[in-house]
Symmetry: C2
Subunit: 143 residues, 2 copies
């Protein structure tokens, strides 16, 4: 179900933060790793139940919280107010969400840190974090 290498790597990430490495958490992670789209909680729940049928919905919520804490998963804020989740990109990247097919394409580092510095100077606000998402139409959906 999970590759050995990845499993060991992931396992130590859990342990480093004092979390237990449970099948449910790994299943949630796997479901997100296996898709390039963001997924709603309910979709994740359904997919997790395909290999762990007894998994409860609350566990999916709890697992996602843990995975976000570990920076393995990121929360996507959608226009309508609902939230979804997607596997975290490598390094500091931002998601581009296809509004047609829900696929998430990442884009490479963005000079937001430099600009944050300048905005700090201009406004006097100490910028701590930023939240950026782009929306558009992916290659496939343009055809």
């Amino acid at each position: 179900m999970f590759s050995v290498e990845k499993s060991k790597e992931i396992k130590s990430m859990f342990h480093d933060k004092g979390f237990k490495c449970t099948p449910q958490r790994l299943a949630v992670l796997k479901v997100l790793q296996d898709t390039s789209a963001y997924l709603s909680i309910n979709t994740i729940h359904l997919k997790v139940k395909e290999f762990l049928p007894d998994t409860g919905l609350a566990t999916v919520y709890r697992s996602l919280e843990t995975l976000v804490d570990l920076n393995l998963v990121v929360k996507v804020h959608l226009e309508d107010g609902c939230h979804s989740y997607v596997i975290a990109p490598e390094g500091h990247r931002h998601p581009i969400v296809c509004t047609d097919c829900n696929k998430v394409i990442e884009f490479a580092e963005f000079p937001l840190d430099d600009l944050s510095k300048q905005i700090s100077e201009d406004t006097g606000v100490q910028i701590k974090t930023h939240f950026l998402q782009l929306f558009g139409k992916c290659k496939e959906c343009q055809a």
Copy 2:
């Protein structure tokens, strides 16, 4: 309660989209105009009831939806998943949210449009919109 000039201007904005200009909608708008912070639905409701005591919570939801539709108000997505609302900035600007006092400071246009173009070329995705919020500590809260 509302200045005449603004009222007329606003009134025609409602009518242009086929909305009626009601005291409740104007009250919600006024509450947001009178603060520099983003406000939760419940806070808005409380403030609206100060001058329109019978206003129901559902009406606040409905009014906000209308005002967002008219681009007079924007929705702020918060880390914890909750949403709040703030008066829409002039032109295309982005909010900086103070994580200490909830105040919203805007910052001037940001070269996202140019970068969107480049990202479009790099990734093949046709960027349509973006969503950017910065979080930090405002001048006052740093003291």
